[in-house]
């Protein structure tokens, strides 16, 4: 119930925010929200259940392509209503969940680097399906996604980017709500038990393999929703949008934000969107040769991302969220009860390292 209240308040605040921002910022906000769907699922999988997946980009692809296919198919048949979007997104989530189940079952018995390696190969192999089934999926060129303009009820000048932001934010709030409830439930405790000590968990009667598969499936559904949102944002799908870089970016987001923490997923998603833009703005003010500027463009954020991953993992495994909690600990007594409450719900890698 408490989570529902928070979700409602957040939703209202975000709605107001979309009116304050101009269309390009709305688009960035929407992108961050879309990333958040996948990052939240991934942080639960890695941080709470201890399974390292490098293949969530592939799951996002499985969430995105059905949206394109269903939207285009319905448009071809002349079906023109806003509810078609819900059908498409559900199709995407279903497809991603199915793939998640398959990969989850294959990976249930694998640990650590083996699991990481398997999901890495999945991440690399799945995009090539678009070329293999080039007749329907159009290979490298990808598909456009047919989208209707915002509902007429919102007014004729309603920016399309704000509509996209609404859709993505709704998905993000929903995902966060569901996952927060999940983490506090018995299933959440089971996830942690399996992560912390498999043998003990098995002895306690927990079906370890099934728990791991379920965790994978849940995070796959989140990734599918995220992919569906990206299809709506970019208004197109192509294999290169879901390449290995995407999976690595998601990993970056959850690690730097704070493994196992939903708030951490928020920080990570914001980082993914804001850092390249910040670097761009920063270098725009410097006088650089066009050649150097061009070389910095994609690569400086990339190098910073990599450095962050290494530094965070070695020095601050709790990520941004962990650092924030540490800072708040030193704040006057008044806030102490609130801090204690929050520490109970999150589980991060720092807990594991203290073993």
């Amino acid at each position: 119930m408490r989570n529902l209240g928070i979700a409602a308040v957040s939703a209202a605040l975000l709605l107001a925010l979309t009116y304050l921002l101009d269309p390009f910022r709305d688009y960035q906000l929407a992108t961050a929200a879309a990333y958040l769907c996948a990052a939240a699922g991934l942080t639960v999988l890695i941080g709470v259940n201890g399974q390292l997946s490098l293949g969530h980009g592939a799951l996002m692809a499985f969430g995105a392509y059905p949206v394109a296919l269903v939207q285009n198919e319905l448009a071809d048949r002349g079906v023109s209503a806003q509810w078609t979007l819900a059908v498409s997104v559900l199709a995407g989530v279903a497809a991603a969940t199915a793939l998640g189940a398959v990969v989850g079952v294959a990976a249930a018995r694998l640990h650590g680097p083996y699991l990481a390696g398997l999901t890495l190969v999945v991440a690399v192999a799945v995009p090539s399906l678009a070329t293999l089934f080039g007749g329907v999926l159009h290979g490298d060129q990808g598909l456009s996604v047919y989208l209707l303009p915002p509902p007429a009820a919102l007014g004729p000048d309603f920016p399309f980017e704000r509509w996209q932001a609404w859709l993505a934010l709704a998905a993000a709030v929903l995902t966060m709500l569901l996952l927060a409830n999940l983490m506090r439930s018995r299933f959440g405790r089971t996830l942690r038990a399996v992560r912390d000590d498999e043998v003990a968990a098995r002895l306690a009667g927990i079906p370890v393999a099934r728990t791991r598969v379920l965790a994978f499936v849940v995070s796959a559904a989140c990734a599918g929703l995220s992919g569906a949102m990206f299809a709506i944002l970019a208004q197109s799908v192509s294999p290169s949008a879901f390449a290995l870089t995407l999976s690595l970016n998601l990993l970056l987001a959850v690690v730097v934000g704070g493994l196992g923490s939903l708030a951490g997923a928020v920080w990570g998603s914001l980082l993914l969107v804001l850092l390249p833009w910040l670097v761009d703005t920063f270098t725009a003010d410097l006088t650089l040769s066009p050649d150097l500027r061009q070389r910095l463009a994609g690569n400086l954020p990339l190098a910073i991302f990599g450095l962050l991953l290494v530094v965070v993992m070695i020095a601050a495994p709790g990520g941004v969220q962990g650092l924030l909690k540490g800072v708040l600990k030193h704040v006057p007594q008044v806030l102490a009860p609130a801090v204690r409450g929050r520490r109970r719900s999150a589980g991060g890698l720092d807990d594991r390292l203290q073993r």
Partner: protein, 417 residues
């Protein structure tokens, strides 16, 4: 959770204040002193070989025009964004150009797979989408995309012209087609089939830009015994195909699409060992060859290249970039001092542009395609020179007609009147 939500809100609000660069006046990207246009180009990635020099040359031309007072007193600012030939990145950078940088128009967006994805967005936002750097027929849909215009001959037209030449000069030989696995390759193949007939092609293979192993395809060609191989490839893959062919001992007459046949670019890719492979390569072209030093346009662009482009190595891509710049400035002047987005679209539709091309532009209210004709060129002794008549045709089943190539002289100062 609440704190997180509030922090998110405040952070995004902060970034919202700094807002995108807005230009005074009601026309995006146009002020009394400046016109801002943007483009997406593969400055990096598998298709970058050669193409990365195009935007630098266009920018150099704009620098020259700016140094001579600009267009009606407005200087042209050219924002070049890298999309790495990756359609996902194109989405991002084009949105940034239109929504944040608020450019007046998108000029010479490069790539069939990359640009196809942003057509709807540009159309919805009524952004002039001028002189797309690709020969796909998608740009020529005036009713669906009224703001989009092509520049170079469609791949279907190119395929027909190539096939017509092959039919006349290599009658009875086994013909094969190698194409990129998208509209570029598909349209080219269709053009070839229109003239030669579907049964005449012994083997047809495709490649994906993301997969550099072309050995299976070239192996298939060797097994089929191809004597003439028509290739719709970007430069990197033309080089790969030729190199692989040499490795497995496959000898054929290469006829390569204009898109991937620039001699200096290919020579740079194949290096010293590979340059002999390029001898005898045939390719169609619609701009004068770099090696045609007597041509006044080449002389003009060489001079501008030295002064404004850092004396970059002169090749087909540089000439292409200058030609695009020249055309855009013509369009700006035709649109008049009172520059609007609809104004420039109308100006292009009115047509009547001149330039270095060997054929006329086809711009009209019903036709948004660019050049309609090409001349064949061949590499002999390390020089790629055009020869023979100008071939013109259409997208459909019309015949390939021959005529004399255009030779319009450039204005003395190199800036359109």
């Amino acid at each position: 959770m609440v704190a997180a939500g509030l922090l998110v809100a405040s952070m995004t609000a902060c970034s919202g204040d700094s807002g995108g660069g807005s230009s005074g006046g009601s026309v995006p990207g146009v002020t009394d002193t400046e016109i801002v246009v943007g483009t997406h180009q593969p400055l990096t990635g598998p298709a970058a070989a050669g193409y990365s020099k195009i935007s630098a040359a266009t920018k150099a031309y704009f620098d020259y025009v700016n140094a001579n007072g600009g267009v009606f007193g407005r200087k042209i600012t050219y924002k070049v964004m890298d999309d790495g030939y990756n359609p996902a990145n194109t989405q991002q950078v084009v949105r940034q150009l239109v929504l944040q940088d608020k450019v007046f128009a998108i000029l010479n967006g490069l790539g069939t797979p990359t640009h196809t994805g942003v057509l709807d967005f540009l159309n919805t936002n009524k952004v002039p989408d001028l002189f797309v750097a690709s020969g796909s027929r998608t740009w020529n849909q005036p009713d669906k995309y009224p703001n989009t215009f092509g520049f170079q001959p469609d791949y279907t037209i190119e395929g027909k012209i190539i096939a017509n030449y092959v039919k006349a000069n290599f009658a009875g030989k086994k013909v094969c087609v190698f194409g990129q696995h998208d509209d570029f390759g598909a349209d080219g193949l269709k053009g070839v089939q229109t003239v030669l007939g579907e049964d005449a092609i012994a083997s047809s293979q495709t490649y994906d830009v993301t997969n550099t192993n072309v050995a299976p395809a070239i192996g298939a060609f060797k097994a089929a015994g191809c004597q003439v191989t028509i290739s719709f490839t970007v430069p990197a893959f033309t080089a790969l195909a030729m190199g692989t062919a040499a490795q497995i001992g496959f000898h054929t007459q290469w006829v390569v699409s204009n898109v991937g046949s620039d001699y200096p670019t290919l020579a740079g890719l194949l290096k010293s060992a590979g340059t002999p492979l390029l001898e005898g390569m045939l390719s169609p072209g619609y701009l004068p060859s770099v090696f045609d030093t007597a041509n006044p346009w080449i002389a003009l662009f060489s001079r501008l290249n030295q002064e404004y482009n850092g004396n970059a190595a002169l090749d087909g891509n540089v000439i292409y970039g200058f030609a695009v710049g020249y055309l855009f400035v013509q369009a700006l002047k035709a649109a008049g001092k009172d520059l609007t987005r609809q104004g420039i679209v109308d100006a292009v539709e009115k047509g009547g542009f001149t330039g270095p091309g060997v054929s006329q532009f086809r711009f009209s209210p019903d036709d948004h395609s660019g050049y309609g004709g090409m001349q064949m060129a061949q590499v002999k002794g390390g020089k790629q020179l055009a020869f023979g008549p100008l071939y013109t045709t259409d997208d459909g089943t019309g015949p390939v007609t021959e005529s004399t190539p255009l030779q319009e002289a450039p204005p003395t100062n190199g800036i359109p009147a």
